[in-house]
């Protein structure tokens, strides 16, 4: 057999996952390569953006992230702020957040067993927690600015965060 020459392309995959097979297809709505690694057919994972770019999402309200969101960049885009809950630590999970709209109420990213370091562009002393005792990071109201950001990685047990802000107090680890 010379091998598979094409992926199925359509609006939805052909069938659901089962114990021995996983649907994989190119979504004709957005030309993304997707799979459904397990379950009923609804929890799609984006394997590859059409452009070759990483996946992303613009958030305008509170959200609870799941493992299928791993690898995404999230843009925080509501001045009134909101809370984003990370899933429980699991091997390989990672997320990135950017402030798209400066908050007048904090954006809060909650996580369990969190350690984190904040780096400020002004070079002053910024927040940190150097044990896995943190519970959230906050893009502080009226202090965090457009372009402030944070990366999270999990080792399977804990969360690690590096955060980057303009003002020393723009982001706190709590």
């Amino acid at each position: 057999m010379a091998g598979v020459r094409s992926f199925y392309r359509g609006v939805t995959p052909l069938g659901a996952s089962h114990t021995a097979a996983v649907p994989i297809y190119v979504d004709s709505d957005n030309s993304r390569l997707k799979m459904i690694p397990a379950g009923s057919g609804t929890a799609e994972t984006v394997i590859q953006e059409a452009s070759g770019a990483a996946s992303q999402s613009i958030l305008t309200a509170a959200a609870t992230l799941v493992a299928q969101d791993s690898g995404k960049t999230f843009y925080l885009a509501l001045a009134g702020g909101f809370t984003v809950a990370l899933p429980a630590p699991a091997v390989g999970l990672r997320y990135r957040f950017f402030v798209q709209i400066a908050p007048t109420t904090a954006y809060i990213i909650t996580a369990t067993n969190l350690a984190g370091l904040v780096f400020s562009s002004t070079g002053g002393d910024a927040s940190s927690i150097t044990a896995f005792t943190g519970v959230d990071i906050r893009f502080v109201a009226n202090t965090a600015l457009i372009g402030d950001s944070a990366d999270f990685w999990s080792d399977g047990t804990n969360w690690y965060c590096w955060a980057f802000c303009d003002a020393d107090a723009g982001i706190t680890v709590n």
């Binding site: 091998g3 020459r5 452009s51 070759g52």
Partner: protein
């Protein structure tokens, strides 16, 4: 058969994208897994490098990037410096740049069609001093500054696009090593 057992390997894809089928293959020239998600023959997307590593390039001259370059690491490698132009904005584009050769002329990373002021960003310096920042979407250019003692080997920046604007996170040894300006 429980599922797909192999992917075609050859110098080019077998056929082109149709409304219901997308070519996928391993390019026998470079062992990359590629697909053509829509359209004609030419717009290939790299799904996976042969090595498993992210793609990268060493730049020694000016370059205009395209969406196909997204995800790559670019090493800046000409002392005299040059300009790199970002592609048209599109959801999810991202690039990394690292200084391989310290510049005596600036390296610049510029928005397409500048003076399109659609870039924000922060610079973080290893020496702990106050560094440049642009906290509104009012910049056009990241500059690895060539002035004596400014940008050096290891300086770098990451750039992401949300579909409307560019976000820059830059890292340098000396606080004046990188600027983000409009």
């Amino acid at each position: 058969m429980a599922g797909v057992r192999s992917i075609y390997r050859g110098a080019t894809a077998k056929g082109y994208a149709t409304p219901a089928g997308v070519p996928v293959y391993v390019d026998s020239d470079d062992n990359r897994l590629k697909m053509i998600p829509a359209g004609s023959w030419t717009a290939e997307t790299i799904i996976q490098e042969a090595s498993g590593a992210a793609t990268q390039e060493v730049l020694t001259a000016a370059r205009v990037l395209t969406a196909v370059d997204s995800g790559k690491v670019f090493f800046l490698a000409l002392a005299g410096g040059f300009a790199v132009t970002l592609p048209a904005i599109a959801v999810g584009l991202n690039f990394k740049f690292l200084v391989q050769i310290a510049p005596t002329g600036d390296y610049t990373i510029v928005t397409p069609g500048a003076p399109a002021q659609i870039m924000c960003g922060l610079v973080h310096a290893s020496n702990g001093a106050d560094s440049d920042s642009e906290t509104a979407f009012t910049a056009t250019t990241v500059t690895f500054v060539a002035a004596a003692g400014a940008s050096t080997i290891g300086d770098g920046c990451d750039i992401w696009c949300d579909g409307t604007s560019w976000y820059v996170r830059a890292y340098c040894n000396i606080s004046t090593g990188i600027t983000i300006t409009g």
